[in-house]
Amino acid sequence: MVVLSAARWLRSRLSDRFWRVQDVLKYARHFRGRKNRCYRLAVRSVRRAFVRSTKARKEKKRFLRALWITRIEAASLEHGLKYPAFISNLLKSQVELNRKVLADLAIYEPKTFKSLAALAQRRRQEGFLAALGDGKEPEGIFSRIVHQHY
């Protein structure tokens, strides 16, 4: 005779429940309290932890940029320049270093940072003179734009 469906006493039951539970608990082992042992509590905590880490990966970039800006501001104030003046004058003198590298230079290469601050200060003064005079007076040396061909 042909049997199309299995008998009622034959059930399909999970055999690897232990490993499925361990897959979740392994991410919760360093948590505090019962959520590092009990599956029901751990599932919620692990899910929240993953969601927070995905969101934090985007915010880490914003946070690090703010940190670099604070450090560059502190270093440029030591040399008598404010951060907006420093950055804007560096960009006007065609020096395109980003904030990460400027912060590293401020920490590990103080002499180089001092020379960059002096460059920004000189460009700032030439900008003031250009704004005041605005005639046929000679442009400052550091305000000249360099045209490079590769």
Binding site: V51, T54, V95, K100, V101, D104, E109, K111, L116
Partner: protein
């Protein structure tokens, strides 16, 4: 005429030094630095290089890890051309924005091409039965900076 708040600009009076003397001073500085470079009296050189859309501050024997694929086999020597800044203890050469290729030479070797650790991306919206899980492993490349050299051709 009476002095108001707008007669003089809000910044302090600025006087630039004499251009002729400045030119002499600049030429002297360039000559000294050229002499130092040709005599080889610098210690360790550091450079700021623009590579893989990021800027790195590197020295000799440095390891660098990039979050992408490089079309070079392991063990290939690579020359990095976009150098923004080169410095030693006594002098720095600042490029505007890049330094010339005949002035600096930065060599690196590709050491390793692996994948990153499996990062878990989970999006979850509570009470809306919405949960997505994705595991991402970015390809990474490890380079070692072999040498940074400068040649005395300043002007």
């Amino acid at each position: 005429v009476a002095k108001t708040s707008l007669t003089s600009p809000p910044w302090p009076e600025v006087k630039l030094p004499d251009p002729v003397e400045e030119a002499k001073y600049h030429a002297e500085v360039v000559r000294k630095v050229n002499g130092l470079i040709s005599a080889g009296e610098y210690g360790r050189l550091f450079a700021v290089v623009h590579f893989a859309s990021k800027q790195w501050k590197i020295t000799n024997e440095d390891l660098i890890m990039m979050d992408n694929v490089l079309e070079a086999e392991c063990g290939d020597r690579i020359r990095m051309e976009k150098v923004l800044l080169v410095g030693a203890d006594d002098f720095t050469l600042i490029g505007r924005p890049l330094l010339g290729k005949d002035l600096v030479r930065v060599e690196a070797t590709v050491i390793e091409k692996t994948e990153s650790w499996p990062k878990v991306n989970v999006r979850f919206w509570r009470r809306h039965n919405f949960q997505r899980k994705k595991i991402i492993a970015n390809p990474q490349t490890v380079l070692r900076i072999n040498t940074i050299e400068i040649y005395p051709c300043l002007s």
